[in-house]
């Protein structure tokens, strides 16, 4: 499912029918419900959705990091043909941080504040790549330089709190790419950063992607970020995928009422046009413990009808490569 013709190579990561359940005070909720996703070589898949839609949990499930009280109930997560859920835990740990790396929104949660950056990077290199201390040191300096950190030799001696947010994020990226992963999972990597720094970091990720051919799954709630940086986009709502296609298809010709609602609700930077009232999506975010049968977007949808209660959870692909979970609303209707 790339923008060009489908390649014959099998996908790098294929998620089938993934269902993740959580237990909390509201009861049992499905953070992800029968998701089907796929990422090919050198491709960026954007997971777009608002808070609570399940995008972060889905990402974590790939590496087996779903926290208690959640668990993956069913589904397959195939990495280059092998189902990651069925291999023993020890083997799965080998993928983590090596072939599949992850970066997070908050670098402070993955950088240990009591160790210097050099310490943490060198340790990763020694453990994951079996390098000697000296080689690891060289490589660490190289990596920091590569991600755009000036005076890398000196920075190795610093502690995480002595760096700015943007710098910490670069360090995290450096650690993540140190093992030349084939897939990088990025969970809201720039949400906590200033917009000019976000711009730099996204550019860095793009450059790395071109250089190494790695694929990226980019999770974000920022439509603009996903629109500009993803090849494919999957829009999530209440744990389901509502729409999936190329970035251009989904953003320019949205087929699902939720996607359309989201795009219409965006404020514009064009100051001349901007003063018109926005068209928000009415209602409240979904309560995962009390979803209606069928499509979860019904309470807020302006095209809702009785048949919505019986909608199956899958994407209708009347248009090649561009699927929408809503079989009723067509691209033609939206102008």
């Amino acid at each position: 499912m790339t923008a060009t013709t489908r390649s014959d190579a099998s996908p790098l990561l294929k998620i089938t029918d993934l269902t993740i359940g959580f237990a909390d005070s509201r009861g049992v909720v499905l953070a992800a419900d029968r998701l089907n996703l796929q990422v090919d070589q050198n491709q960026t898949l954007g997971l777009l959705g608002e808070s609570g839609c399940g995008k972060s949990v889905t990402l974590r499930s790939i590496l087996g990091l779903v926290p208690y009280p959640g668990e993956v109930i069913t589904g397959q997560i195939e990495w280059m043909g092998r189902d990651l859920r069925r291999i023993p835990r020890r083997e799965r740990a080998k993928f983590r941080g090596k072939e599949i790396s992850m970066i997070f929104q908050d670098p402070t949660s993955c950088l240990n504040p009591v160790f210097t950056i050099g310490n943490q990077m060198i340790e990763t290199l020694k453990v994951k790549l079996g390098m000697s201390a000296q080689d690891a040191h060289h490589r660490a300096v190289e990596l920091l330089d590569h991600v755009g950190i000036p005076s890398p030799e000196q920075r190795l001696k610093l502690y995480p709190h002595q760096l700015s947010g943007g710098m910490r994020q670069r360090v995290m990226i450096a650690i993540a790419i140190s093992t030349r992963p084939r897939l990088l999972l990025a969970d809201e990597p720039t949400t906590a950063l200033d917009v000019t720094i976000q711009d730099q970091i996204l550019k860095l990720l793009d450059d790395l992607k071109s250089e190494t051919g790695m694929s990226v799954i980019l999770v974000s709630h920022d439509v603009g970020v996903v629109a500009q940086n993803a090849d494919l986009v999957a829009v999530m709502y209440a744990g389901r995928i509502m729409e999936m296609g190329t970035a251009q298809q989904v953003i320019q010709h949205p087929r699902h009422p939720y996607t359309r609602g989201l795009l219409s609700a965006l404020p514009e930077i064009d100051a001349v046009r901007a003063r018109e009232p926005l068209t928000p999506i009415p209602g409240q975010p979904p309560n995962l413990a009390k979803l209606p049968p069928g499509c979860p977007f019904q309470p807020r949808c302006s095209h809702v009808r009785d048949e919505c209660e019986d909608i199956p959870v899958e994407l209708d692909r009347r248009y090649p490569e561009h699927g929408s979970a809503c079989p009723f609303v067509d691209a033609e209707v939206f102008s």
């Binding site: 808070s51 965006l266 100051a271 409240q284």
Partner: protein, 340 residues
Amino acid sequence: MTTDNLKPLLEVDDLVKTFAGKSSVLDHLRGKPQPRLIALDGVSLTLPPNEVLGLVGESGSGKTTLARCIVRLETPDSGSATFDGQDVLAAGPAELRQIRRDMQMIYQDPYTSLNPRMSVQTAVSEPALVHGLVEKEGTERLVRELLGRVGLPFSVAELRPRALSGGQRQRVAIARALALNPRVIIADEAVSALDVSIQAQILNLFAELIHDLGLAMIFIAHQLSVIAQLSDRVAIMYLGRIVETGPTVSVFTNPRHPYTSALLDAHPQVGEEKRQEPALTGEIPSPYAIPKGCRFNTRCRFAEPECFEVDPPPVEVAPGHVAWCHVLPETLSGTHRSTD
């Protein structure tokens, strides 16, 4: 909207605010002066009645410190702030109380801006009760009215914040702020923590309230699209100073300060192609060591020798539109003007 003949509601003049940094005992012994973090380095602005001023800046810009100084949550080192002719910074307790009724603040985090132990009813009625604007018997009617104004049903009155969503909590915070009939509202990143669909609801609500109640507003945000949506005028802040200010349309379509242009470029726009190079390289300098001359010189593509020596003076580049820059490049990109 010509507001030149109206007396400004709020006038801020040359506010300076610094914070003491930490120094070790050794530094003390060596006689090193204590490092000072410069949060505001001479900020001035005016706010006429019923105008919305957008305040934009990234981290270290000082925009939140400015808001806090205006409402006296912080005390500036020097400078003045006047509300309707009254000196805010020197006001005694009684005057301050009055000023506080007229100038209200809405905070960023809907999860901590409401007291978790108070019901909506209590939170929204408390201000009026404390200030003696209403009697106990009148609180229900007041709460009903305020909740209605922010689009919430009266049934939420008995709930505690934890039962409400982020957007609903923010509405309660707005209702609480309106309880004292303020004339100015300072919204400090009031929609930044909300989802897109809810953000749009709250922005519309603000626009409605501004129109219906004739409010003036200082709207602080880091997202330019949100600023464009609400603001009549905008002020761009960098490292404790305003670097450009003017009518939003003028500043956004024709920015004259390189930083403003970089901010506009860096904003990921749906429908726009991604650029090849990042809009701005480098990091923001440390607020402990503000660069000499123009503070933007460490990252500016257009910097000339003068920029490293002398503070740029304000230059009026268009009616009401002022930029602080020596170079004022002509070729800066702004947003595209719509073809109507």
